[in-house]
Each structure stands twice: as structure tokens, then as C-alpha cells.
């Protein structure tokens, strides 16, 4: 047959995880991957098209999801997210919970759907051409967001949605672009008003990204001008509604429209700026550091010799600021004593470990809320949020926040923002306290229980389990497995300077487990007798990277090399949508002196008089990033998942805590 390799149309494959977003745009639907032009008989009535597949159970997972869908989907489709059929264009724009435009559309359902329905094909042609234009203009922007614009395919928008984190930012230019037609303008206003009332998720963008975005918008505006002329003539469909303005819009009219839109845009820009929190403080930026210092409560003196690569991270001389803070206690009236106490405990290192820090912070906030009374002429929602923000910045000064704490704060703030206006102050306070209790209970305590149950199934008799440092979840797993009467041995690997493993060793030995204790130097020796590696983590990021105590990556790498499965135990509230490639960008610097001084060993004092030399720099990193290929499994409260499924959890459940 002549059809040799006729199937060069590369069949579509659905992917999850990480691949180049600039791959050729996906075909309308993967169920269609059987090409019509191939040599085999055409299958127009292929069973795929007219039947649901067995695994498409409309998940009535959360009430929340359903609510969103019901609100957004213009057609009475029961559960759009579960649909696998090729989806017709008119409800493409609002499919699934991962829809990038949702944060906007969700708040104003009736306006988005009719516009996309009315515009129909015309919009899409315009859409794609504008997309191309943009791509050529600012490659960076386009490459990271191309998925979002590919509205021809639900699938591709789904996969695209995976890597882009900055959803509302994407959504707005799209709205604007269709704003090339003048009749969308009132909608933008509506969008604005509605989006200001319901605060979208806070998103983080860097400066460069915002600049790219601005450029792209400028480009889009220019493109839109051209488009109104060219597209407006070529496609007749969208014109039907506004024929006069479109076809022969006189130059003055259009210029008015443009200037009008500029105003809108500026206010949008402002709005956006409000939404995007300031980028992380870069501590090598001198002027900013100075400014921050003036505001700071904790007077930290900075260490002098910092390693070049890590200058963007704060590093302080430890141990000096405690008496200073204590003396200032009575001058700091806005600071709540509970917050103050927890902050000092962070500073002194009395509270460490992700869960402990998180719980301590939440309980401090609970105290704050209990003692809170709204000042006159202020609303509780705003004032309390501001107050909590100031406490959070105090905590940050004491010790940089962990990512899980960031998630928790986000939860709390969203709860405050979502308080019904009808609530009285005492009701609001009670509901917030209850929410905090529930968060601690459901997301930390119960989650740990579930993780333990799952993890124990992977411990067999005769296993040798290795753990690194001291993780409370792993400790609970080991104790529970021991309680169940499983016969296993534990290897505890530890490292200087914290030597947290010794405390763990003490507790385990006290319970009667047989343990081996070693330092990380010996990990490659000990690994060959190990059957499973259990590790805790501070956070798991969207690309499956595990952000954890420094040394974890090393242990995981050695285990990988020895083909020993690595199991990460992590509660789902620690999952973060960010992506981390190395441990440089985001890290924490510990006390450099801890490296040079060995307690109790006066004879090892080689570095004693060297600490102030300019040509010596000490680096005490607190965290590192373990790449996902070293991780066999992540045990979380949603079950045992491969690291590639972290974005699924983040996507499906990331918003859940906004609804509990």
C-alpha cells in the first residue's frame, strides 16, 4: 500500500507532568487521534465518540467543585470536568476546575459564557492569530502561557494549565483581547467590579514576568487595532452584533474607544498590582534591605561573610537579638503576646519542624482572634487581615516562613475574606477559631493518621528502614508499625550540626525498636542493606521536587543508585504550586558558627580565630531540593501517589481549603 508511514500525523498523547509547552498544538481531542486520512477505513461512528468511557464517573467530589461548575457552565452539562468527549466550541471556554479563566469567570458567570457563545468561530480565529502575534513579540510570555490560549482543545488547555501558575493574570489579557471588539468593554468593567469583590487567589509573579506581561499587552493592543480593521472585515460572524462600530468605525470613534480602554486598563493594572504580592525580598538589594530594617521589630545584625551565591537570602548573627527583643516587649503594643511568644520561640529554635511551627502559629492566631475587637470605623475583614499580615511579617523576621506556613496563612486570610457580612463580630470570631481548629485537625492531625495507615502497608517483616534526621510523621509510622508487631530494623542517618536524629533514636530505642545510628558520611555503606527509605519533607512542589531538610537529597540519591525505593511522607497541605529546580533560589541560611564550633570538643578549634577573615565564608544551608526522579512514591492524605501526580492534587484540592 502506498500509505507507508502515512500516519506521520503524530498521534496525540495525553501527558501529565513536565514537557515542553511549545510542543505542536494538540489536536481537538485525543479520542480523535485516529486520523481520518489514514489508510484504514474511516470510523466516523467510532464508539469513542458516542459513549462515555467506564472511568468517566462524574465525580461529585466536593460540593465546591459542583458549585463552580454549575455556576460557570452555560449548558446543563452535569460535570464538565469529567467529560472526555470532543467538546464543542461554545462551552470550551469554561471546562473543568483547571480552567485558567475560572478565577474571573467563576465570579461572573452570565457574562463570560454568552460572549464566548456569541462570538463563536470568529473569536477563535481572532484568538489564534492574536496568539501568534504575541508569541513572536515576547517569546517568554507566549511559551509559558501558550497552553492557555489554545482554546481549540480542552485537553491541551488542561495540560497547559498544569504549568502555569498565574491563572488570573493569563485570564485578563484574554478578556482584553476579545475586547478588540468594542462591545466587550462593559464586560471588562463588570469583571473588574466583580473581581474586586471576590478576591482571586494571590499569585506570585516576578518583576520580569510582569514586565513581559505588560509588553505583551501593549503588543496585543497594537494587534487589536489592526485586527479591528482586518478581522472585522474578514469574519462576518462576530460583526453581527456591532456592525456599525466594527465595519466602518470612523477613526475618532475608535480612538475614543481606545483611550477609554486605556483608562480601564490602567485601573485593571492597579487591581492586578494589588492582587500580586510583592516578590520575595531579595536581601542583596541594599536599598530595600535598608527600608525593611527601619520597619523591622526584630533587630537582627547581619553576618558579614556571606557566600556569593546565597546573598539573596537573609543571614543573621544568631543569639544576639533575644535580650534586645525582650527589653522591647513593652514598647511593642501592637504585637499580641501570643504572637510574640511564638516568634521568640521560632527565633530561639525551640519550635522546629513544619507541623509544629504551623500549629504554633495557628494557635497564636487563634489567641489573637479571641482577643480581637474591631476598632471603630473599621471593618473586621480588612482590619484583621492587616493585623495578621503584620504578625506574619514579624514571624518572617524571626525565621523565614516555610511553604506550608504560607499555605496556612493563605487559608486563614481567605477565611477572613469570605466571612459573611451579616456575621456579628463575636460570630465571626467564633467561626474563625473553629476554622483554625478544623484546619489543625483535618489537615495535620487526621492527615498524619491517614499517612501512617498507608505507609504501614509498605513495611514488611524483615525490612530494614532508613530515615534521615527526625520527621514526626516517619516517627509515628515506625512506632505504629512496631505496635502492629512487624519485625523490622531502623537505620537512622543523621548529620551535623543539628543532630536531630539523636532525639529520634532515643525515643525509638525507648520504645524497643532495634535501631542503627549513623552519620550521613556512611550512607553509601549502609544503603546496601536497606529495603525502604522513609523521609519526611517540608514541602512538595508541583514538579515533584521535594523540599526538605538539607541532606535529604543526598540520601535519596544514594538510595536511588542502590535501587532502594524512596517514600516521602508529606501532608497535602504542604503541597505547593510553585516549581523549584535547585535549592539556591529558595532556601534558608542557618547559623554559620554552628559549622565551625563543635560543642564539647575543645580540641577541634581550628576555625576559632578565622571566622572574621574576609576570605573564608561559611555556608550553613537548611534545606535542599530532591529531584522527583529519586522519589518512588509520595504518601499523602489522599493516598499513595507518584511524584508526577502532585500537580493533580494541587489542582484538584488546592482550593479545597478555601471551602472547608
Amino acid at each position: 500500500m502506498d500509505a507507508r508511514r502515512a500516519t506521520t500525523t503524530v498521534p496525540r498523547v495525553r501527558q501529565v507532568g513536565f514537557f515542553t509547552p511549545n510542543a505542536p498544538p494538540a489536536q481537538p481531542s485525543r479520542t480523535h487521534s485516529f486520523p481520518l486520512d489514514s489508510s484504514s477505513p474511516p470510523l466516523s461512528n467510532s464508539p469513542v465518540n458516542n459513549s462515555l468511557s467506564p472511568v468517566m464517573i462524574p465525580p461529585s467530589r466536593h460540593l465546591s467543585d459542583n458549585l463552580v461548575h454549575r455556576a460557570t457552565s452555560p449548558l446543563p452539562v452535569p460535570e464538565p470536568s469529567a467529560f472526555r468527549r470532543p467538546i464543542r466550541s461554545h462551552y470550551v471556554a469554561v471546562v473543568g476546575s483547571y480552567n485558567p479563566t475560572e478565577s474571573l469567570l467563576g465570579s461572573s458567570p452570565p457574562l463570560a459564557s454568552p460572549s464566548s457563545r456569541v462570538i463563536g468561530d470568529g473569536e477563535f480565529s481572532e484568538e489564534s492569530s492574536a496568539g501568534w502575534f504575541r508569541r513572536s513579540n515576547s517569546a517568554k510570555f507566549a511559551s509559558s502561557f501558550s497552553g492557555a490560549f489554545d482554546l481549540t482543545s480542552v485537553k491541551s488547555s488542561e495540560t497547559g494549565g498544569f504549568h502555569q501558575v498565574k491563572k488570573p493574570v493569563v485570564a485578563q489579557p484574554k478578556e482584553e483581547k476579545s475586547g478588540a471588539a468594542a462591545f466587550v468593554e462593559p464586560q471588562i468593567n463588570k469583571v473588574l467590579s466583580s473581581s474586586s469583590s471576590t478576591k482571586p487567589l494571590k499569585e506570585k509573579t516576578t518583576k520580569a514576568e510582569r514586565r513581559a506581561l505588560q509588553e505583551a499587552q501593549r503588543a496585543a493592543k497594537a494587534a487589536a487595532k489592526d485586527m479591528t480593521v482586518s478581522v472585522g472585515v474578514s469574519t462576518s460572524k462576530p460583526v453581527k452584533h456591532q456592525p456599525a462600530q466594527r465595519k466602518d468605525a470612523p477613526p475618532p470613534a475608535s480612538s475614543i474607544a481606545v483611550s477609554d480602554r486605556k483608562g480601564v486598563e490602567r485601573s485593571m493594572e492597579k487591581e492586578r498590582r494589588k492582587d500580586i504580592p510583592a516578590p520575595r525580598m531579595q536581601f542583596d538589594d541594599k536599598s530595600r534591605v535598608e527600608k525593611a530594617k527601619k520597619r523591622a521589630v526584630v533587630n537582627q545584625s547581619e553576618a558579614r561573610n556571606r557566600v556569593e551565591l546565597f546573598r539573596h537570602l537573609p543571614q543573621y548573627e544568631h543569639g544576639t537579638q533575644l535580650p534586645d527583643l525582650e527589653s522591647k516587649f513593652f514598647q511593642l503594643d501592637p504585637m499580641h503576646p501570643a504572637v510574640y511568644k511564638v516568634g521568640l520561640q521560632y527565633l530561639a529554635g525551640d519550635i522546629s519542624g513544619g507541623n509544629a511551627r504551623c500549629i504554633a502559629m495557628l494557635q497564636a492566631f487563634q489567641e489573637v482572634i479571641k482577643d480581637y475587637s474591631t476598632p471603630p470605623e473599621k471593618s473586621l475583614t480588612r482590619d484583621l487581615t492587616a493585623k495578621i499580615s503584620s504578625f506574619v511579617s514579624f514571624f518572617t523576621e524571626c525565621r523565614p516562613l516555610s511553604m506550608s506556613m504560607g499555605n496556612t496563612i493563605r487559608f486563614l486570610k481567605s477565611r477572613i475574606a469570605k466571612l459573611p457580612l451579616t456575621f456579628s463580630e463575636s460570630e465571626a470570631k467564633a467561626s474563625l477559631c473553629a476554622d483554625i481548629d478544623r484546619f489543625i485537625n483535618e489537615k495535620i492531625v487526621l492527615a498524619d493518621n491517614v499517612i501512617i495507615r498507608h505507609a504501614v502497608t509498605k513495611i514488611m517483616d524483615g525490612d530494614v528502614l532508613l530515615t534521615y534526621g527526625s520527621s514526626c510523621v516517619v516517627e509515628m509510622i515506625l512506632l505504629y508499625a512496631h505496635e502492629l508487631g512487624k519485625q523490622f530494623r531502623v537505620v537512622i542517618v543523621d548529620s551535623r550540626p543539628k543532630l536531630k536524629g539523636q532525639a529520634l533514636l532515643r525515643r525509638l530505642v525507648g520504645k524497643g525498636l532495634s535501631c542503627t545510628y549513623t552519620h550521613i558520611n556512611a550512607v553509601s555503606y549502609i544503603m546496601h542493606e536497606v529495603t525502604r527509605v522513609f523521609l519526611g519533607s517540608s514541602s512538595v512542589l508541583s514538579n515533584g521536587t521535594v523540599y526538605s531538610r538539607v541532606g535529604t537529597a543526598c540520601v535519596a540519591m544514594v538510595a536511588h543508585a542502590f535501587h532502594v525505593p524512596v517514600l516521602i511522607c508529606c501532608e497535602a497541605y504542604k503541597f505547593h504550586e510553585r516549581v523549584l529546580l535547585d535549592s539556591i533560589c529558595s532556601n534558608e541560611l542557618g547559623d554559620p558558627d554552628a559549622l565551625s564550633k563543635v560543642p564539647g570538643r575543645m580540641d577541634i578549634n581550628y576555625l576559632d580565630d578565622l571566622t572574621n577573615k574576609d576570605n573564608m565564608q561559611l555556608l550553613n544551608l537548611m534545606y535542599d531540593a530532591t529531584p522527583s526522579e529519586y522519589v518512588s512514591m509520595i504518601i499523602t492524605d489522599y493516598g499513595m501517589i507518584p511524584p508526577t501526580s502532585v500537580p493533580v492534587i494541587v489542582r484538584e484540592y488546592g482550593r479545597e481549603y478555601l471551602w472547608i
Binding site: 500500500m1 507507508r4 508511514r5 500516519t7 498521534p11 496525540r12 498523547v13 495525553r14 501527558q15 501529565v16 507532568g17 485525543r30 479520542t31 487521534s33 485516529f34 486520523p35 489508510s39 484504514s40 477505513p41 470510523l43 467510532s46 464508539p47 469513542v48 459513549s51 462515555l52 468511557s53 467506564p54 472511568v55 468517566m56 464517573i57 462524574p58 465525580p59 461529585s60 467530589r61 459542583n66 452535569p78 460535570e79 472526555r84 509498605k458 514488611m460 517483616d461 524483615g462 530494614v464 546496601h528 542493606e529 536497606v530 529495603t531 525502604r532 532502594v564 525505593p565 518512588s632 512514591m633 489522599y638 493516598g639 499513595m640 501517589i641 507518584p642 508526577t644 501526580s645 493533580v648
Partner: protein, 396 residues
């Protein structure tokens, strides 16, 4: 790992002399096969107490090449469901209805997969159920699916199929505000739809995979999988030119059957012994395998030898394609080969085996996802990592 270390060998020698206080054979398959079967290995290499239920159905379905154990296995099949029937008859208002009977009657159809038979049987449960409340119905359904599952704990697709059915049928929002009768009819409707879809799954997969079979390609196939056969048959019928290498598929020689069937379709077939895979791999363009179960990591559990073939293919950069229906997606996550419920099968070596020699009788192995290229399922063509995505969407 630790069983490679010398200390373990010492331990093992000790443990062989000292009887175990626990039951390691299940958890540590290294200690299996149990030594009690060794005494009669000389006379009968395949004592029937070593045969897993999984293997019996496989034997019955695939009409495996003769052996004296087949009769035994058949006998075992006859026996096994019988005792379970007695215990699990759901007597409903005088008229006894048994899921197992229903299941067995469906199972007699040779083309129907076990899981689909189970799905059909469960649909029949709903139809025959005389419960008056939703809760009652659900409990009954749960009971029925449990009894089906307990009939054969080693079959992954059966368990997964039952679980999926329960999810699919009982998770409809319509149940909340309708009265019982309409809710029940809706359940029946959904159940039948699910059964229908599962039936069509093989056909869908065959369609989807046609893009990947190009003219002039050489396909290596391991064992006999009905899905893979359907794929190849569809390709042959659409006049594609390709040739197939069949492994022999020891111990049940299922490859022989596949080669037979393919020869009937005039597809050029070459038969290999299982150990010739690496030798022929440079001629091969792609590897096609079926799966007993697709696990959460995206890896597959399949007939013994799949892992080995996938490893060879991976090292020679040949794609490994898996054809599996979505009802085989299971919420399992094996970490290594031994981290599974072992399915044992008899192995006929042709010669008597001395009683001191151990025989590895596991019938399946686990292929990790990094050795698989794509999965062809009725949900579409998936990369291994999507499996977990689908499972999370389903079960959580």
C-alpha cells in the same frame, strides 16, 4: 538490597532450620514456594495447591496448550466457586440469586473479560435486588462485589473492575433528589452503560493504536492478550503490512496460541523462545504487551517476562506499548517485584525436578513506568503518569 548481602544468606540458613514465628512466605516471597510441596515434586511437578485462582481462570480462558495440570486446574475451577456459592448466596425474598452464578454464566463467554463478566453480574444484582432503600441496595451491592472479589483475590482486573463499578454506579448526583424507584432505574441504566462501555473498550483500544502501527514494522508481542490480539487483528484487517514476533510465553505457552491465531489471519509470525528477546530486539520496532493490571504509578503488572522485555527494549530505545482497558486500573502501588500479592503458577520443566531445588512459581511481574512508553486505553493514549491522574479523579 539486603537479601543480596552475605548476612542475609546466613540469616536465611538459620531461618530455614528454625521455624518462623510469623508467616513470611506471603510477605517475603523469597521464602516461597513452601517446602511441603517439594516431596511430591518428583512424581508430579505441579501440585495443585500451588495454583492461584488467577492462573486457573487464565488457563480456562486462553485454552492453554495441554498439560496434565490443565485437568487439575479445571477441576479446581469447578471446585472453587462451588464452595463459595454456598456461602454467598444472597437469598432475596425466597428467590435465591447468586452473584457468583451470574458471574460464572457470564464468564463462560470466551470473549468476555473476567472484569466485564463481574460488571455484568453486579448489574444483575441491582436488577434483582428487592431492597427498598438506597442504603440497603448499596449494602447488598457491596456484599456482592466483596463475594466476587473474594472468589479470586489474585486477579487485579476483577478487583479493580468491581471497585470501579461501585464508584461509577453509586456516585451519581441524581440519587439525592429522586425517589427510590427512579433512582434504581437510573442505577440500572448506568450499570448497563458501564457494562456496554467495558465491552467496547477493546474495540476502542484497537482503533486508537492503529496510528502507531506503520507499514513494514516489526512488533514483538509477549504472551497472549486479547486486547493485543484485537489490535493486531484490526491492523491486519486494515491491510497494514507488519510482522509479529511472538515469544513462546512459558510456562503456559500462550505465545503459541497467539502465533496460531495470527497465522490464521495471514500475518507473518515468527516464534521465539522467551530467552531470545534480547537477540531479536534490534529487528524489533515496537513491543506490544497487554496487562493484568495497571497500577497507580503507571506501571503494569503482567505475565512473567514482561519486565525483562521492557528492560531490554528500554536499553535499546524501542518503544514499549501497553494495551489495557481502563477497568484494569487498580489502586495498587507496588514498590518492587516482591511488593505484590503473589500469583503462583505451575511450571512444567519436562523432567523431574529434584526435591532440593526450589522453583520460582510467580506468574506475574511488575514493570515500572519508566520502562513503558505509552498506554493504550479506552480513555485514550496515555503516558504512564496520567494513570495516577485518572485514578485520583476516580477514587478521591
Amino acid at each position: 538490597m539486603w537479601w543480596r548481602s552475605p548476612s542475609f544468606i546466613l540469616d536465611k540458613q538459620q531461618s530455614d532450620t528454625v521455624p518462623h514465628q510469623r508467616n513470611p512466605p506471603d510477605t517475603l516471597p523469597l521464602h516461597s514456594p513452601p517446602p511441603f510441596s517439594m516431596a511430591d515434586t518428583l512424581q508430579n511437578p505441579n501440585p495443585e495447591n500451588n495454583i492461584s485462582a488467577y492462573y486457573q481462570t487464565r488457563a480456562a480462558h486462553h485454552a492453554v496448550v495441554t498439560g496434565d495440570w490443565l485437568a487439575q486446574a479445571q477441576a479446581a475451577i469447578g471446585r472453587d466457586p462451588d464452595d463459595s456459592t454456598d456461602t454467598t448466596v444472597a437469598t432475596v425474598a425466597g428467590k435465591p440469586f447468586s452473584v457468583i452464578d451470574e458471574f460464572n454464566s457470564w464468564r463462560k463467554q470466551p470473549e468476555l473479560a473476567e472484569a466485564v463478566a463481574a460488571i455484568r453480574a453486579l448489574a444483575a444484582v441491582i436488577r434483582n435486588c428487592q431492597a427498598t432503600t438506597m442504603m440497603e441496595l448499596e449494602i447488598e451491592l457491596k456484599k456482592a462485589s466483596d463475594s466476587l472479589k473474594s472468589g479470586d483475590t489474585t486477579s487485579i482486573s476483577l478487583t479493580a473492575g468491581c471497585d470501579l463499578f461501585m464508584r461509577y454506579v453509586t456516585r451519581t448526583s441524581a440519587l439525592e433528589y429522586e425517589d427510590f424507584d427512579s433512582a434504581k432505574s437510573r442505577l440500572i441504566e448506568r450499570a448497563e452503560k458501564f457494562g456496554e462501555i467495558s465491552c467496547k473498550a477493546r474495540r476502542i483500544i484497537a482503533m486508537l493504536s492503529q496510528d502507531f502501527i506503520f507499514d513494514g514494522c516489526t512488533i514483538l508481542v509477549h504472551g497472549f492478550s486479547r486486547v493485543v490480539f484485537e489490535v493486531l487483528k484490526t491492523a491486519a484487517q486494515s491491510k497494514k503490512l507488519f510482522r509479529v514476533f511472538c515469544t513462546e510465553g512459558r510456562p503456559d505457552r500462550s505465545g503459541l496460541r497467539l502465533s496460531n491465531e495470527l497465522a490464521k489471519l495471514d500475518v507473518p509470525v515468527k516464534l521465539l523462545i522467551d530467552s531470545a528477546v534480547a537477540y531479536t530486539m534490534d529487528e524489533v520496532d515496537m513491543v506490544f504487551v497487554g496487562a493484568d493490571g495497571v497500577v497507580e504509578s503507571g506501571g503494569i503488572i503482567n505475565m512473567m517476562g514482561t519486565f525483562q522485555i521492557a528492560l531490554v527494549a528500554h536499553s535499546m530505545n524501542k518503544p514499549v506499548y501497553v494495551a489495557a482497558e481502563s477497568y484494569k486500573f487498580a489502586r495498587l502501588y507496588p514498590l518492587d517485584q516482591k511488593d505484590m500479592v503473589p500469583a503462583l503458577c505451575p511450571i512444567d520443566f519436562g523432567v523431574p525436578i529434584p526435591s532440593k531445588v526450589e522453583v520460582e512459581t510467580s506468574a506475574r511481574d511488575y514493570t515500572p513506568p519508566q520502562y513503558l512508553t505509552l498506554l493504550f486505553t479506552d480513555l485514550g493514549v496515555l503516558t504512564p503518569s496520567v494513570v495516577s491522574d485518572e485514578l485520583i479523579q476516580l477514587y478521591l
